[in-house]
């Protein structure tokens, strides 16, 4: 329950405070969010499979975000930032879809 409340609170705070994204963070934030969503979906799936582990979730969340940011950074340095970002988003999207499919099977038994 607390994670859901935390998510809602975060969204509400973000919507109402209208913070501006600092410039150095702008290329990384979207990818980091997608990576974090991947971690969240993985966590939900693990929760439903009753194999959820707090530590694993926190660490996977953190590493996902950091690695996504690093990949984008590396891509920017190599001059293929936009392509690599697209690739990362595609891979994470596939993983999110896979996790969502597993969650769906657990919830709807289909």
């Amino acid at each position: 329950m607390i994670p859901v409340i935390g998510l809602v609170v975060g969204v509400v705070v973000g919507l109402f405070t209208h913070p501006s994204v600092p410039l150095w963070l702008q290329p990384y934030l979207p990818i980091a969010i997608v990576a974090a969503l991947d971690a969240v979906f993985g966590g939900v799936r693990a929760l439903l499979e009753r194999s959820f582990d707090d530590k694993v979730f926190v660490i996977s969340f953190g590493t996902n975000v950091v690695i996504a940011g690093l990949i984008v950074y590396l891509g920017d340095q190599l001059g293929v930032g936009s392509q690599l970002s697209t690739g990362v988003v595609v891979v994470l999207g596939i993983r999110i879809f896979t996790n969502a499919a597993a969650i769906r099977r657990f919830i709807f038994r289909a």
Partner: protein
């Protein structure tokens, strides 16, 4: 595994997810509001190229419009000068053809004589002498048929006829009788010198028994107008 009481890791997870939600909302908000800030470099370069080419196109259009504007302005000025030149030409022609009243310095020549005493050639000689001396506008005033003074503007087509009998002068078809008054606009001293020359116009009048009076006027106004006839045979080329 719904939690009975919140453990520290669950709080951490909640905080993490709150951060995620915050970042999500922030990113969505900034993405929907931001214009150029979130665009990648390649897009920015393309936009910059577009703007540069558009700018150069507009610059070329601007310079052509400026050229057009100056041309129009110049054309307006030249047509203005052409118009004023045509206007002054028309003024000169109107004076020449006797279509407008005119004023200026000039002379008045009175000739008192019986009408039998003056041959037509003498009136023509006066007109000739006046023109020779640079008179620009000439009018002959005489007695009309009803014994009232009547004027005739002397123009290029003016002719003088002395009919006999009865002895009447017909100037441009208008019957005139002595005494005659010549009114001429021009350089007064020059004209009076030309008329008073020995053996000249006034001399001949005096010799034929006429009385002649010549005065130089500072400002002479001639209001008589010539009748404008449209030419039957001559056409402008």
């Amino acid at each position: 595994m719904m939690m009975k009481r919140p453990s520290s890791t669950q709080l951490v997870i909640g905080l993490i997810l709150a951060g995620l939600g915050f970042a999500l909302a922030t990113q969505i908000a900034s993405n929907s509001s931001a214009g150029l800030q979130t665009l990648p470099q390649s897009d920015l370069v393309r936009i910059l190229d577009d703007l540069t080419s558009k700018n150069s196109r507009l610059e070329a259009e601007r310079s052509s419009l400026i050229a057009l504007n100056s041309e129009i302005t110049r054309g307006g000025a030249s047509s203005q000068t052409a118009l004023s030149a045509a206007q002054s030409r028309a003024d000169a022609l109107e004076i020449l053809t006797g279509q407008v009243a005119a004023h200026g310095p000039g002379i008045v020549l009175n000739v008192y004589a019986p009408k039998e005493a003056i041959p037509a050639e003498q009136l023509v000689a006066v007109i000739n002498e006046l023109r020779d001396a640079g008179a620009e506008v000439v009018e002959i005033v005489g007695m009309g048929e009803d014994a009232n003074p009547i004027g005739v503007r002397v123009v290029a087509s003016t002719y003088v006829v002395r009919e006999r009998p009865p002895a009447v002068f017909r100037i441009d078809g208008v019957v005139l009788n002595p005494p005659f008054t010549f009114r001429a606009i021009g350089d007064g001293p020059t004209i009076s010198a030309a008329l008073n020359i020995a053996g000249g116009v006034t001399d001949q009048f005096r010799r034929s028994g006429s009385r002649v009076a010549l005065t130089i006027e500072e400002d002479l106004t001639i209001r008589t107008l010539a009748r404008l006839t449209s030419p039957r045979y001559a056409q402008t080329k």
